[in-house]
Amino acid sequence: MAVASATRTLTMAQAVAEAIGQEMERDPNVFVMGEDVGIYGGIFGATAGLLKRFGPERVMDTPISESAFIGAAIGAAAEGMRPIAELMFVDFFGVCMDQIYNHLAKNTYMSGGSVRLPVVVMTAIGGGYNDAAQHSQSLYATFAHLPGLKVVVPSSAYDAKGLMIQAIRDDNPVMYFFHKGIMGLPWMAYFEGSTTPVPEETYTVPFGQARVVREGTDVTLVTLSQMVHKAAIAADELSKQGINVEIIDLRTLVPLDVDAVVRSVKKTGRLLVADEDYLGFGLTGEIAALVAERLDSIRLKAPVRRLGVPGVPIPYSRPLERAAIPQAAHIAEAVRGLMAARVA
């Protein structure tokens, strides 16, 4: 349930940490595990201050043993605990994916619904600060492709808090992806729009409800996470050129708000999907397909367009990274291309 009484502004990192702290206070079953979640407060600040408040029994620094501690979250959750496990960068999923997708994601189904696993795995995504191929990926589509995991990708502090509380209270496994470049860290450039007023009270943002960030009539721009802010920059520029972009922030990929996408594309007749994950076999294809499947009721004015990292690892060097990851300028250009295009 959303609450209106926001008086303070928080960074996304602060919002995440606050959400976890409030839920830990409310529910003794909630605890946090991960590398450097204790005195360090999480490399990206998602657990800042929690060790001091809750002590090392509930804010547990782990060995570099992601399979063991994420697997332990499964076992603890089966016993009724509500663990939050931090995988420092999503790029490291390859060392612990078996526990995540063969067990955390499937035990409920394989047990015919008798096993409940209220686990949140939170993890950092995204590039933009030249951390290269093993520390800059987004990869949420990989998790959305596999069944059994809810997939949450907030773009602002307000959403980050509400979605985190929702995630912790959900009786199912949730993958929670925060983009480093919108956490509002004092040591990494970020998009101001991600730092927002955040109510002090607890509140939830429901899963499966996209947010219309900005209404428009010409083009539907489906996006999420940091790319929402690049989209906003592009939309500002485009509006000066008389092009009105409607921006949809998906907020969660599983469940996916198909209606929000369809409704908007019906209105605009044009779709651009802008993504920081790899372009092929991922999110952009899925959104494009949702529209392609509904061409009996959707009348497109232009072919669908997609932006993503096009089949290359994230390169290190600044000019290369900028070329590989879609920027606001790429979005604007793609929208202009859409306005110029026609369907056959």
Binding site: F31, E57, T62, P63, S65, E66, S67, A68, F69, I70, G71, A72, A73, I74, G75, A76, A77, A78, E79, G80, M81, P83, D98, Q99, N102, H103, N107, T108, Y109, M110, S111, G112, G113, S114, V115, R116, P147, G148, K150, D170, D171, N172
Partner: protein, 336 residues
């Protein structure tokens, strides 16, 4: 630690139940899988009959399951492997729901969704996985939960000799030792990981010696014997229960059947199984019971009849239960 008469008799009967369950399964499993009932040209059809898919049976490995589980309570957690029946039975998972699951019936533990390698019984705190070594971290987690809540509950993770070379083994043992979790890690050394012998896969002779890498006690049980397992496990479980932390036990045990049913076992020396069966742990325990005057012909007959009855009932239940409605395929991805 000496087993009580009740424990001895429980171990004996449970071994009988396991053996009968597995031998029955070996027969039922073949139904519908052989010519002429299958696609032309095939010698065997893994997907045919009432029990399709892979089938890993544990006949011969009963001592590991009963020797350990004799020390467990309902609140203790057990995680098993791809070869899970003996563990499940020894942990008290209801035979009928377990059999029904293996038959893919809606009355099964997982309403037919999990199958033989994925038996989940939250009430009896049993779970397993078809992925090697995957049961170790969840066992650590259950133990962590117990510790956090100040319960004296323990968790047992069973796994094979092959699993002891998987990275997850290492991570789990270190975590459990560092956090002093009430876990007992039990390695079933049946000499093989499918066709690969332990000597081919493992750099040292006894996995129990790996306990030193984590500063935890490690014991190797040299015989496929319920009493020896009982003794080693008793110490380990008691240690865990009183907050003394994890231990590692390796048990030498014997796999009487193929890795899975249908395995031609070309890798096995001829006569090996016959030789192994000469040291069958079930008659060995019976002899012990008789020596202690806990068993005579009549009592044995009664126990065997009861074991047989339990297994028969379970198979009947499974066979006569209904399949789930196909629409159930799309349910239970999430709870609530």
């Amino acid at each position: 630690m000496e087993p009580t008469p009740e424990q001895l008799l429980w171990m004996y009967e449970t071994m009988l139940v396991i053996r009968e369950f597995e031998e029955t399964m070996a027969k039922v499993y073949l139904e519908g899988k052989l010519p002429p009932h299958i696609q032309k040209g095939l010698a065997f059809d893994i997907g045919g009959g009432p029990v399709p898919g892979e089938m890993h049976l544990a006949a011969g490995q009963e001592p590991v399951a009963v020797g350990v589980c004799a020390h467990l309570r309902k609140e203790d957690t057990v995680t098993g492997t791809h070869r899970p029946h003996h563990f499940a039975i020894a942990k008290g998972v209801p035979l009928d729901k377990m059999a029904a699951e293996i038959f893919g019936k809606v009355t099964g533990l997982g309403r037919g969704k999990g199958g033989h390698m994925h038996l989940f019984d939250p009430e009896h705190k049993f779970g397993c996985s078809g992925i090697i070594a995957a049961g170790l971290p969840p066992a650590c987690g259950a133990a962590l939960a117990a510790k956090k809540r100040g319960k004296d509950w323990v968790a047992v993770a069973f796994f094979g000799d092959g699993a002891a070379n998987a990275g997850t083994f290492h991570e789990s043992l270190n975590l459990a030792a560092r956090w002093q979790l009430p876990v007992v890690f039990v390695c079933e050394d049946n000499k093989y990981a499918i066709s690969v012998e332990k000597t081919v896969s493992t750099a040292i002779a006894s996995n129990a010696d790996r306990a030193g890498a984590y500063g935890m006690p490690g014991v190797r049980v040299e015989h496929n014997d319920a009493l020896e397992v009982f003794e080693a496990a008793g110490e380990a479980v008691a240690r865990a229960r009183r907050g003394g932390g994890p231990s590692l036990i390796e048990v030498k045990t014997d796999r009487y059947m193929g890795h899975f049913q249908g395995d031609a076992e070309a890798y096995r020396p001829k006569g090996e199984v016959e030789e192994l069966r000469r040291h069958d742990p079930i008659p060995a325990l019976a002899a012990h019971l008789r020596k202690r005057n806990l068993l005579d012909d009549q009592k044995d007959e009664g126990i065997r009849r009861r074991a047989h009855g339990r297994v028969t009932e379970a198979y009947d239940f499974a066979q006569t239960s209904a399949y789930p409605d196909p629409a159930e395929a799309f349910q239970h991805v999430f709870v609530g």
